[in-house]
């Protein structure tokens, strides 16, 4: 009988199979990147006006709370109303084209539109105030904002990431005085300090990984 498959045909078959496999993997990778949440991590986000945290925090030396006024008192850290911007900018850099949108917003009572950089899904309920009051620093989740001309996201903000801290808070907790300190780095004896803070802040570890902590 004749061979059903000649060697070169066999080769073609194997090769084809290989191609298909490669395409499959490629497809999956593409799909994941396409459906990944935006803006991606570490990608600066352009805003109008091009607000620079770097300038306002490290150059001017504003405190976070000057704009994010309710971060200590409410679930939402809050974004400043245009009027807050105008407290300074009614005087400083008045004519700057860069600031035109702010002036316009104030004049026409039309709110500014900022692009959201840190967003959580609908079903996640995050409270800024409690984190602040229990010694979780801004930079722990938001990164060194004072070094960001344009803001970008430094953390995945995925559940597993949240759990990283909720399972081992002692690795991240800071003394109250350091919460708004952008330059804070964990000291070598952080673990032990952290445990002290845990008791000081009266944090119930059991609760931290309860589903009801974030989901309602």
């Amino acid at each position: 009988m004749a061979q059903v498959f000649r060697p070169h045909q066999v080769f073609v078959l194997k090769f084809g199979a290989g191609i298909v496999l490669v395409l499959l993997i490629a497809g999956i990778l593409i799909w994941r990147t396409v459906t990944a949440d935006s803006p991606p991590i570490d990608a600066p986000v352009a805003q109008t006006p091009p607000f620079s945290h770097k300038h306002h925090v490290s150059d001017v030396g504003l405190d976070c709370r000057f704009c994010h006024a309710s971060v200590e008192t409410a679930a939402f850290a809050g974004l400043p109303p245009t009027s807050t911007c105008m407290t300074c900018h009614s005087q400083l850099f008045k004519g700057q084209p860069m600031l035109a949108p702010v002036a316009a917003s104030f004049r026409d009572d039309l709110p500014l539109h900022w692009i959201r950089v840190h967003r959580l899904p609908d079903f996640v309920y995050f409270h800024h105030d409690i984190h602040i009051s229990k010694g979780v620093g801004c930079s722990t989740c938001h990164g060194q904002v004072d070094q960001m001309p344009l803001l970008w996201r430094t953390q995945s903000l995925e559940m597993s990431w949240c759990l990283g801290c909720h399972r081992a808070p002692e690795k991240y907790l800071r003394p109250k005085s350091k919460v708004f300190d952008m330059t804070w780095k964990a000291p070598p004896d952080q673990l032990q300090r952290g445990r002290q803070l845990l008791t000081e802040y009266k944090i119930d570890r059991h609760r931290l990984t309860d589903c009801s902590n974030c989901h309602r």
């Binding site: 059903v4 498959f5 597993s160 759990l163």
Partner: protein
């Protein structure tokens, strides 16, 4: 191993015993006959008609599924308290049908029943198809089916795992294992026959397709040897697996606290029920095939007779468990269990209950008669009745338990909608569709095993003469 069987066949089959393969056969004629069905030039009219019907139902099936995914499970008649009805009924029914195939061929394989050879092939096919359909229902019944993969343990961004103590998770693994085993067991058996088809195929296209499926099988002695020991091992694994799978299905209910479910009798009860309906479905298909391809020489009345006996036995086991269920309810002195038992017999679903008693307990008693066991069409009718009865049984089991459980204020009723029926009927059509493709393009009977049988018979004969010669 089956060669080892020779002496035993000889031993436990007295000359008076009718042969498994009556009529004259040569190795060639076997290939001739069975390959003919597949490679035959023209397709039978009955096949085309049946295929058209089944295709229509298949479209209905997947159409309904599409609508289901679009609208949600609300298109079914479900409600609180009856949150499961047709969906889970169909699931249990199909997975029970799946039971027989692997089990039959594995059991026959292990007990070296020569007569099994001719029915094991499509019994296995039946398993694979029924299982594929059964496996769909747990996904279809979900409120958010697109998240079904959350049942699998894999590292994810939620750092969550399945809840291991849920019987549904056990189910997931059970079906997975069962499906893969059945597929491999089936395919392992098919390889040499694909090789035969490859070598007899007349068109290039078929040569290639069957060639690929045959994986280049060339009948090497060592390959045969490995394949056989593999089949033996798989068969050995299949039996406990199959039992465990249906025990787990039983546990789906038994672990619940719903009166009428919360009973340790369930796992064995479900295994028995599964064998019962599995054998019945096998019977249905055997008879159809036998008729369609006039395989009377391969599938003899003895096959039917044995199958019928098995069905009868299982039917009795089942009848026993029904009695036990009622007894347990009474014996438990549990108010709710007792009520459920009575409610089944006198409640709004009483007709279903009595219908299933008729189909599952009474009808099979006819099989005591040898005459019935030898009358294919009677057997066919009975097997159909049993299949219906077994579906009713699952429906009764699920719905009557749910619809009146603990708090009278929460009692309710279930009424099926058109979509419930569409998906049930559609699934049957899809099953038929797969079977039709199978009988058309795959050898319905294992040729290699037939050849073995032939060899044994020849050998047995030879050995007789030899003894005489020696004397």
């Amino acid at each position: 191993m089956s060669s080892v069987a020779i002496s035993e066949i000889h031993g436990d089959s007295p000359p008076a015993h009718e042969p498994v393969l009556p009529g004259v056969h040569s190795y060639e004629s076997i290939s001739e006959k069975i390959c003919g069905i597949v490679l035959g030039a023209r397709t039978a009219r009955w096949w085309l008609i049946a295929f058209a019907v089944c295709s229509a139902l298949t479209v209905l099936f997947f159409g309904s599924i599409g609508y289901l995914f679009y609208r949600g499970v609300g298109i079914w008649g479900l409600n609180v308290p009856v949150v499961w009805a047709f969906d889970i009924t169909n699931y249990v029914w199909w997975i029970a049908i799946a039971m027989s195939g692997t089990f039959i061929s594995a059991a026959l394989h292990l007990t070296r029943q020569p007569w099994g050879a001719s029915i094991s092939r499509f019994a296995e096919a039946m398993t694979v198809f029924a299982l594929a359909i059964a496996g769909m229902f747990p996904i279809l019944h979900l409120g958010r089916p697109w998240f079904f993969y959350w049942l699998t343990p894999y590292p994810n961004m939620m750092s969550l795992w399945p809840q291991w103590r849920s019987p549904l998770v056990w189910d997931f693994f059970a079906i997975l294992a069962y499906l893969l085993l059945s597929l491999m067991f089936w395919y392992l058996g098919l390889i040499p026959d694909f090789a035969t088809l490859r070598d007899r195929a007349l068109t290039r296209g078929r040569q290639v397709i069957y060639g690929l499926l045959a994986l280049g099988w060339r009948g090497e002695a060592r390959h045969w040897h490995r394949r056989q020991s593999a089949q033996l091992l798989l068969a050995g694994l299949a039996v406990p697996l199959v039992v465990s799978v249906h025990s787990v299905v039983g546990l789906d209910f038994a672990t619940g606290n719903t009166p009428g479910w919360h009973s340790t009798i369930f796992p064995p009860f479900f295994v028995a029920g599964a064998m019962f309906s599995g054998f019945a479905m096998a019977m249905t298909i055997v008879i159809l095939l036998r008729r369609a391809f006039d395989l009377g020489n391969f599938i003899t009345e003895r096959h039917l007779d044995n199958l019928a006996k098995l069905i009868l036995a299982m039917g009795l086991v089942l009848a026993y468990s029904y009695v036990m269920e009622i007894f347990m309810a009474w014996y438990s002195a549990d108010r709710y269990e007792i009520y459920t038992a009575l409610n089944r017999m006198r409640g709004p679903y009483a007709p279903v209950y009595w219908a299933l008693i008729f189909c599952v307990v009474l009808v099979p008693q006819a099989l005591w008669s040898r005459r019935v066991r030898r009358a294919p069409w009677l057997l066919f009718a009975i097997s159909i009745v049993i299949n219906i009865g077994m579906w009713l049984e699952r429906f009764m089991l699920i719905v009557t338990s749910e619809h009146r459980d603990f708090l009278p204020s929460a009692w309710g009723m279930f009424y099926p909608t058109i979509w419930d029926w569409a998906i049930l009927i559609g699934s049957i059509g899809f099953f038929g569709w797969l079977l039709l493709l199978f009988v058309r393009f795959v050898p319905v009977i294992s040729m290699s095993e037939m050849r073995e049988l032939l060899a044994h018979q020849g050998h047995a004969h030879a050995s007789h003469t030899h003894e005489r010669g020696g004397a």
